[in-house]
């Protein structure tokens, strides 16, 4: 786990979040949600800081972070691609979609592209089964996606339309 030095700004943000939940150990998951929302991901150093602020064991914080699929310890791509693998989407060909994206970006699920633009993971059912199979890029939902459309969708972000503000660490 490469050691990174947290910027003072990040330390302030994390402390603020913990304080907003009265440094209560029972609010760990809410704290982690807020931290990931503000910082983009949860590296080891952030987890250590949270454990310190909530006065609890670091191993327990890591145990919670690795239990829930929502929290990730590696930076997400600028444009996180998630393929819905719910049953409705699976039956309508989500596996071929996933296969096609892997081929196009040649990364595996859970990885990010070297240039940090795209990351790929699977989601458990986004709840838009009417549009199966569904692919999400960030918050944007693409419905009734066919493997052939993947190239077009990626291209849309390739030229880099508006870049969301970069999370400095």
């Amino acid at each position: 786990m490469p050691k990174i030095k947290l910027s003072q700004r990040t330390i302030e943000i994390v402390k603020e979040i913990c304080l907003s939940f009265e440094n209560n150990e029972g609010e760990l998951i809410n704290v982690l949600h807020e931290a990931q929302h503000k910082l983009g991901y949860l590296p080891a150093e952030v987890q250590e800081l949270i454990a310190h602020e909530l006065n609890m064991s670091i191993a327990k914080v890591y145990g919670v972070v690795t239990f829930y699929s929502f929290f990730n310890m590696l930076p997400q791509g600028e444009f996180p691609i998630s393929v819905c693998m719910g049953t409705a989407c699976y039956v309508r060909g989500a596996e071929q979609i996933l296969h096609e994206i892997k081929r196009q970006l040649n990364i595996e699920v859970g990885q990010s592209t070297p240039d940090g633009k795209f990351s790929l993971n699977c989601l458990r059912c986004v709840g838009a089964c009417g549009l199966a199979p569904v692919v999400m890029v960030g918050e944007k939902v693409y419905g009734r996606v066919a493997p052939q459309q993947i190239r077009k969708i990626i291209a849309e972000y390739q030229e880099g339309c508006v870049r969301p503000e970069k999370h400095e660490m």
């Binding site: 986004v126 709840g127 838009a128 089964c129 009417g130 549009l131 569904v134 939902v141 419905g143």
Partner: protein, 131 residues
């Protein structure tokens, strides 16, 4: 916003609201309002319901048609999102499916202005428990 301190506060508020709606639905009040509800659930928005809602508001304003466009929850027709429900005064509410910009314009033009029906009407296929 006054707090509802007792049961009759609630009753009064409810009666007031229901009267306002009946007035509007019976259509005999002066400002002859058209009510449009847009299904704004996650899958609705994902299929473009937000753009349709803005488009409807601009179009109706342009054509100076008195109308209230409001958002609502999912109506259950996932295969036909985005879906909208149009209530023209004096007529039963009608639900339209697969409403893109082109079809929305057609609904305004034909149904709201000329009272003609338009393709893609979704018949009500459930019984409600109001009656």
């Amino acid at each position: 916003m006054n707090k509802i301190k007792s049961l009759d506060d609630l009753r009064q508020l409810r009666e007031g609201m229901q009267a306002k709606i009946k007035l509007r639905e019976s259509g005999n009040n002066s400002e002859n309002i058209v009510r449009i509800k847009v299904a704004m659930s996650t899958c609705g928005i994902a299929s473009g319901a937000k753009e349709i809602m803005n488009f409807l508001m601009d179009e109706l304003e342009q054509k100076a048609i008195e109308a209230v466009v409001s958002q609502t929850g999912c109506m259950g027709y996932c295969y036909a999102e985005p879906t909208i429900e149009v209530t023209v005064p004096g007529r039963e509410p009608i639900v339209f499916g697969d409403v893109d910009k082109f079809r929305a314009a057609e609904i305004i033009e034909k149904y709201i202005i000329h009272n003609e029906l338009v393709d893609g009407i979704l018949p009500v296929n459930y019984r409600s428990i109001d009656n």
